[in-house]
């Protein structure tokens, strides 16, 4: 004959965590309470889970102070402002360069060969600048030792 286990005698398992956290329904809470009244193992587990929760709550898993976070946040604001500033500056430079280039191309007083030479010089400078910037950007992303202070 198979002996049936009454619900109150069944171990409550994960409900113990829910009980500690106050996340159970009234019915579930009653079930845990009744079971723990009879079961020493679950009662002990409940006490240990409570102690564990308290210990974690009181621990210092991160020790960064509020002031440091404020500073971090200010840096964030500065970086955003600086980013907008650079964007506006580059947009302005490009607009001025565009107008200048247009004026240079339509200038009737300059021979075509002179225009080509000047275009070659400025295009060469622009390519060098782009190449250097690209290299710096790649180094910044991949250099493991960029933050090392000597």
């Amino acid at each position: 004959m198979v002996e049936e286990t009454r619900p109150v005698d069944q171990h409550v398992g994960e409900l113990l965590s829910g009980f500690v956290d106050g996340e159970l329904t009234q019915q579930e809470r009653q079930r845990v309470t009744l079971h723990c009244d009879r079961c020493g193992d679950c009662r002990q587990s409940l006490a240990e889970l409570r102690a564990l929760r308290e210990r974690i709550g009181k621990s210092r898993l991160s020790e960064v102070g509020d002031d440091e976070w404020r500073e971090t946040m200010n840096e964030t604001t500065v970086q955003t402002t600086r980013g907008i500033g650079w964007l506006l500056f580059i947009a302005g430079i490009l607009a001025v360069a565009g107008v200048g280039l247009y004026g240079f191309i339509v200038e009737p007083g300059m021979p075509i060969w002179m225009k080509l030479i000047l275009v070659a010089i400025y295009a060469g400078l622009a390519l060098l600048l782009v190449s250097v910037l690209r290299q710096r950007l790649i180094e910044r992303k991949t250099d493991k030792y960029k933050d090392v202070e000597i």
Binding site: S17, E23, R55, T76, Q79
Partner: protein, 163 residues
């Protein structure tokens, strides 16, 4: 929510966010970067947070978690993933004891899976409700209690083993 109010509330969430990020990235420096990025995201687009949908804390933890996941994806092979725990250092005896207890806890946490560490930090350190944790971790509401319970049992075992 006004920007100043949001800034102050985010400052208060800094340590919890850092603790969560450390458990995900396994490294305090990467965690600080993730929190920094999350601050930047939140302040750049404050309208992304809708106060009618719930408190700032779970929303911000979700942002932090996403930043950590991005950070891990960007990691190159060979990058240091798990940081060696620092020495608690000298100081008054009581703070040394606290530091040692915290270090034991961190060592025990390090033995758990990332998912288990996250759920413990969100509940026991950050005090989020199960529904909020489900939102942050993007899991079903009913999953939280079982995952948390397994995580706590595993942590208890680790602490007993090394305690």
């Amino acid at each position: 929510m006004k920007n100043d109010e949001m800034r102050e509330e985010l400052v208060q969430l800094g340590n919890g966010a850092h603790a969560l990020a450390t458990q995900i990235t396994g490294n305090a420096d990467d965690a600080a970067d993730a929190v920094h990025d999350a601050f930047a995201n939140a302040l750049r687009k404050p309208a992304a947070y809708d106060a009618n949908k719930g408190p700032l804390k779970p929303w911000f933890m979700h942002v932090v978690r996403n930043r950590c996941i991005d950070l891990i994806r960007r990691r190159r092979p060979g990058d240091v993933e798990v940081e060696e725990l620092s020495d608690p250092g000298a100081g008054p005896e009581s703070s040394l004891e606290i530091a040692q207890r915290d270090q034991e806890l961190q060592l025990a946490l390090a033995k758990l899976s990332s998912g288990q560490r996250q759920v413990i930090v969100l509940r026991d350190y950050m005090d989020l409700s199960y529904a909020e944790i489900a939102d942050v971790l993007e899991v079903a509401n009913g999953t939280v209690m079982s995952r948390l319970h397994r995580a706590r049992l595993a942590l208890r075992e680790e602490l007993t083993r090394h305690g």
